[in-house]
Symmetry: C2
Subunit: 355 residues, 2 copies
């Protein structure tokens, strides 16, 4: 009975069967990377991650890069992406590129009406990124790159065949196409001779982004670049049942700048795996696999033993939702309080970012 | 009988009926512009040219701009575009922008395989442009613009609706779409506040480019810019019957760097409006309206009286093709010899253009 429950496995059972079909490799931490993401199946699959490990082992440089479309306030879901970037940025041989994707956000999001708006979000997001430890010198805004970068987006467009295009887009939405071109340039441009040259590169993405990853690898082939490596992360889901954590739906997300009261309110109202009565739950146990409170701990609490312990106690009915929410709230409130203190300082740097 | 023949009219009879449909105004030189282009119906139509005349009259600044896709050697057809640009650049209140469209050429032309190739053509073309009097400071390469310019291409993409897109492109060819985006940016970016601000602008194009002109005006509306004005030029046709003057078909064009012998050979072989025997031609007269030799004179010879005189003598059978070809060859050889002398000097400037 006990072994039916795998605290880090429940979310990925649905995916594993699909990996073969998509050509992905299951991520197993044979690489012994020292971050809880890798112990908890938050990183679940990869393409060519072995190439990165080899570079690390052989003390050779590799590119790591990611980006965030600057289209709203940052929430805990973004923090996962930033934490992963910060983790890899600490390897001595990583060459780090973080795109503040302001043009992407403008081109692809209906709600962003002007570049000015996208840049305002970028300045806001930047302060949070810096507070979480993203190195300032790794960060660039798409709208402030060198001509070589833009030239490259146009070169890329020439190599996208009708077949590649149809497979990913199906129909034409020029703004989204433009945004994608920039994403491909973000991932591939560090391999140009004007930047790091042709070396392996690593980007963490969600499984839903895989069609773009494959197209980017196709493009790399056409430009005789190293095929970029990808690791695939689970997305933290929204706080309500069946929702995504979304910038545009405040009730689904805890924002990095949410005040204490707001954090508490949201955690207290979050969907859990508890049963209708305390008595029943003590008897039958709760279901942490579907619990949003437990998911917060899984994605953010650094102490794996503690998270595992809560998981098991929940299963056995030894901890109820109220106590669990309290633990979660204490943890998140404290974490974000410290974070917000840092943001007060980093905001000053962020305000000066756009020339 | 005499009045059936209009030396400057024959080519445009086919177009005039279409102007209404396309919303174009027939170009009449009520503006008294002092260049033979305007006296010979080489400029045949316009959109909003009155706005430019008003700026000239009121000594207010206006933008004038054009561009050339750098995809081959330059020929006499290009010279017409350059001459027109040089003419308007001499107005004190013109703000001149000449795009060396290297990215455009790379994206839209199958035969250009790399940006390096496009830039090599750009350097070659630049030397000729300078020799013809295009001001160096008006010239920019698309691949070397400021980030604001590229950002603007992405802003433009967001405002192109599915309807606008389908009307102009019909089907998807991403390279060509990208090339077009740059063209729209070339035409509209001088109106951004970072450049000249919102003022009228003028671009000379061929009638076949009108769908792009209309789309560009639509975009201007969406960005609250002044609708750009266009003047529509006839294209000089190729030297053989029914051909276009084309960089990729050497027999159809006289290149600006053709040696004397080559010029002579091409003119001597050009299609004329002569009849099968000299005797018959003396009796019935030739047809200069379809004559490629006469077309060269019409597009390039600065002396309108001389061109008109040859036209009338041809009609009456008073000049035969051999003599006419000789006059044309003397004129073109001399003109291009002087031009090529200048190119020897301007080539040095061109070679240093790309940083």
């Amino acid at each position: 009975m006990e072994k039916r429950f795998d605290p880090w496995g429940s979310n990925i059972q649905n995916y594993e069967s699909a990996f073969d079909e998509f050509g992905l490799s299951k991520f197993e931490n044979k690489f012994k990377l020292n971050h809880y993401f890798f112990d908890r199946n938050i990183i679940i699959a990869h393409r060519d991650f072995d190439k990165i490990i080899e570079r690390i082992k052989n003390k050779k440089p590799f590119i790591q890069l990611t980006g965030i479309a600057t289209s709203g306030r940052m929430h805990l879901g973004h923090k996962v992406i930033l934490d992963l970037f910060v983790f890899f940025s600490k390897f001595k041989n990583s060459r780090n590129y973080f795109a503040l994707s302001d043009i992407d956000a403008y081109c692809s999001r209906e709600k962003i009406k002007t570049m000015k708006e996208a840049k305002e979000y970028a300045v806001n997001n930047l302060a949070h990124m810096l507070a979480l430890g993203v190195p300032l010198k790794s960060i660039y805004a798409q709208s402030q790159k060198e001509p070589r970068y833009y030239e490259f987006t146009f070169e890329l467009s020439k190599k996208i065949t009708k077949n590649m295009f149809d497979a990913v887009y199906g129909h034409v939405d020029l703004g989204k196409i433009q945004a994608s071109l920039l994403q491909y340039a973000d991932i591939l441009h560090p391999q140009l001779k004007e930047y790091e040259g042709k070396i392996p590169s690593l980007t963490g993405i969600g499984l839903d982004q895989d069609p773009h990853a494959k197209l980017t690898r196709d493009l790399a082939r056409r430009f005789n670049l190293e095929l970029p490596s990808f690791i695939y992360m689970l997305h933290q889901s929204g706080l309500q049942q069946g929702t995504k954590m979304s910038s545009s739906q405040p009730e689904t997300a805890i924002y990095l700048d949410d005040p204490k009261e707001e954090i508490k309110r949201k955690i207290m109202r979050a969907f859990t795996g508890g049963l209708t009565s305390a008595e029943e739950q003590r008897r039958k146990g709760g279901n942490p696999d579907i619990c949003k409170v437990h998911e917060i701990l899984k994605f953010h609490h650094p102490n794996t033993k503690l998270v595992l312990n809560i998981y098991n106690r929940c299963r056995k009915g030894n901890i109820l939702c109220g106590e669990c929410k309290q633990i979660c709230n204490d943890f998140v409130s404290d974490m974000l309080k410290k974070h917000q203190e840092k943001v007060k300082k980093t905001q000053k740097i962020a305000d000066k970012f756009y020339k």
